[in-house]
Amino acid sequence: MSSAGEPTSSRRVFVVEDEIMIRMLLEDMLADLGYGVAASAGGLSEAIALARNSDFDLAILDVNLNGDAVYPVADLLMERGVPFVFSTGYGERGLPEPYRDRPTLQKPFQLANLEHILTSIGR
């Protein structure tokens, strides 16, 4: 768990990303955009546990977590009705059928794009 120390009134994001430095980047970018980081995870089992139990408004899910696909987490979030966006370096074609229409963040990240996507899914 890490905290960017944002005010509780802001929208809170769950970040799933297995690369520490990319996680740090996302946390900073989210802080810059006025979002708080509710929780972050780098491995699948940790991400599943947090997806079940923590409280957040949006999620950013890295598709590949040390070789594990993040889809079980995505399924949990769909069940809970929490909006989320995938982040990937594979390009949009890499997503399997049920998730193909989900918005995707391409690495490396663009601040304006991140803001746009988060705004659109968070509505």
Binding site: E19, M21, I22, M24, E46, N66, G67, K107, P108, F109
Partner: protein, 580 residues
């Protein structure tokens, strides 16, 4: 013997007024000859009345021939036609007359006293019943007896006869006598037989050729070839041993069996390149033997010295190599029979033909298989390439995001453009170093000792090695390797500015151990500085400390930064994922 000859007008069954079987004239024609195969034309020209024949034909308008008696004419005609004649008493079944040619048809000399019992005994046992029936039916229907049957000569040879005859009947309608002619048709029967055999051979060859040409399944090809060759060679059993390559290019031998269950061969080893088999397996020639046991090459080799115990008996032996267009020996067709002299030259030729066809079919099947596997391999490579490109793209994008992160954070904590440039450059170099390490292991991971060495070596020189790595080496996954290189880089940079590496007498020690009892096993690292200036805790959290704390984020990892006055102590406790 000549009683009331009945050949005067056989066609309508009326009684011949004169004697019908002029024995004397036949003897004058045939002399002592017994053989039925003679030159009839030559005989005819030597016959009596030949000179008168032309006269007969020219003077034949009124049907009379002054030079020949009716007996002479009949006798001459019968002889010219190579027809035997006979007459039998229907009630007593006594032969009333048999001509010399007739006796010759049964392999008997003219002076042999041919009896009806002799006749019955000489008819081939399989044809006796048919003969009796045909006679009875002819009598009952007042029709013509017309039958072909085999008879066995005193010398044991079998001959075919065609016999025709009719009966005469008394005023009560009872048959009294029966008479007729006989013709040796052995040659015709043999010709028919060989024609049938030839037709059957062609049919099988045609069927086999079609099947071989249409099929690409190796197993079926060789079975078809083996079956056809076994059938056509007259072998009791045949087999086809053939060499194939497995997926790894290893050569091994398969076999098919025809004419005997496969189990009969299952317990025997594959035939080896012994003297006997060598011509077949080396493709030097066909081996055909009437009795292989008498072959000088037979029985020379341990452990069997001939056939293995329990092998089907082989006396007649035929082996034909199957040779590819390239000259490579694909295998061999082997045939056996328990009797001697079973394989003719003809059988050898047929099998050689089948072997040639089989070779072409096997070549085709092999080419097809090779093309298939080539295509499959290309598809596999293409898939791998696509996968690899995707993976490469992913890795590059991730790395760009990492560089983006380094730039953003370095900028956040830099007071000047110069400080940013130096910090950014050093971190990108550290990242590049991590990639170098991983590239050496094909991105499989790195050794912790290598990671620490790479990061710390620039801070020491030959006289003053300033760090100590006492831990037993351990492998970490690629992701952990990148993170640890970056973390050690941050710690070392900090030590060079504010800690142990800031003074020549300062030193550091990086130790680690693995807790294998945990699931997953945990890696415990302790970074300990000594001999540096007094330590103060930093006012704010920089890139380095965030990165190090970030390491702990996975599954209840724990990181401690203890800014003790004597020197910084950093402990990192993380799960040791092989894949990470």
């Amino acid at each position: 013997m000549n009683g009331g000859g009945l050949y005067g007008d056989v066609a309508d069954g009326t009684v011949c007024p004169a004697g019908c079987f002029p024995r004397g004239s036949i003897e004058s024609l045939w002399g002592p000859k017994l053989n039925t195969r003679h030159d009839k034309a030559a005989d005819a020209t030597t016959g009596p009345g030949m000179n008168a024949r032309r006269t007969t034909e020219t003077a034949g308008a009124n049907g009379s021939n002054p030079g020949w008696s009716p007996d002479e004419r009949l006798s001459f005609a019968l002889t010219a036609g190579d027809l035997g004649s006979w007459e039998v008493d229907v009630s007593t079944r006594e032969l009333l007359f048999t001509s010399d040619i007739y006796k010759a048809n049964w392999g008997r000399a003219p002076d042999h006293e041919f009896k009806y019992d002799t006749l019955l005994a000489a008819i081939h046992p399989d044809d006796r019943e048919r003969h009796e029936k045909a006679v009875d039916e002819a009598l009952a229907s007042r029709g013509t007896l017309d039958i072909e049957y085999r008879n066995i000569w005193p010398d044991g040879t079998v001959h075919w006869l065609r016999v025709r005859g009719r009966a005469v009947y008394d005023h009560t309608g009872a048959a009294t006598r029966m008479a007729g002619v006989s013709l040796d048709i052995t040659d015709r029967k043999r010709a028919e037989e060989s024609l049938r055999e030839e037709t059957r051979t062609l049919e099988i060859l045609n069927r086999t050729g079609t099947m071989l040409a249409a099929n690409l399944d190796l197993e079926r090809l060789v079975q078809t070839a083996t079956d056809a060759a076994t059938e056509l060679s007259g072998a009791q059993f045949g087999s086809f041993f053939y060499n194939v390559l497995d997926e790894n290019g290893e050569r091994y031998t398969l076999y098919t069996i025809s004419g005997a269950p496969r189990e009969k061969f299952a317990q025997f080893p594959m035939p080896r390149n012994t003297q006997l088999f060598e011509p077949t397996f080396r493709g030097t020639g066909i081996v055909r033997s009437d009795d292989i046991r008498k072959d000088p090459r037979y029985g020379k080799n341990a452990p069997h010295f001939g056939l293995p115990k329990g092998h089907l008996p082989v006396v007649s032996y035929l082996a034909v190599p199957v040779i590819s267009r390239s000259g490579e020996v694909l295998g061999g067709l082997f045939f056996g029979h328990e009797k001697a002299r079973m394989f003719t030259e003809r059988a050898e030729h047929i099998v050689a033909g089948i072997a040639a066809q089989a070779a072409i079919a096997i070549d085709n099947a092999n080419l097809f298989r090779a093309a298939e596997s080539e295509l499959a391999q290309r598809r596999r490579i293409e898939q791998q390439q696509t996968l690899l490109l995707g993976e490469l793209n992913h890795r590059v994008k991730n790395t760009l995001a990492i560089v983006q992160s380094i730039a953003t954070q370095t900028l956040r904590h830099s007071d000047s453009a110069e400080a940013f440039r130096a910090g950014f450059e050093a971190r990108v170099m550290a990242l590049a170093e991590a990639h170098n390490l991983l590239t050496e292991s094909n991105w499989g991971g790195a050794s912790l000792k290598d990671i620490a060495e790479r990061v710390l070596t620039p801070y020491s020189d030959e006289q003053n090695r300033r760090f100590d790595l006492p831990g037993q080496d351990v492998q970490v996954g690629p992701k952990a390797a990148v993170s640890l290189v970056m973390a050690f880089h941050e710690l070392a940079t900090n030590a060079a500015k504010y800690g142990a590496l800031a003074r020549p007498e300062g030193s550091l020690r990086v130790d680690w151990n693995v807790l294998n009892d945990a699931d997953p096993p945990r890696l415990y690292i302790r970074w300990e500085e000594a001999g540096g200036p007094p330590v103060k805790a930093p006012a704010r959290q920089g890139f380095g400390s965030r990165l190090i704390r970030g390491l702990a984020q996975e599954s209840s990892g724990e990181v401690r930064l203890d800014f003790a006055r004597s020197g910084l102590v950093c402990t990192i406790d993380i799960p040791l994922y092989g894949e990470q």
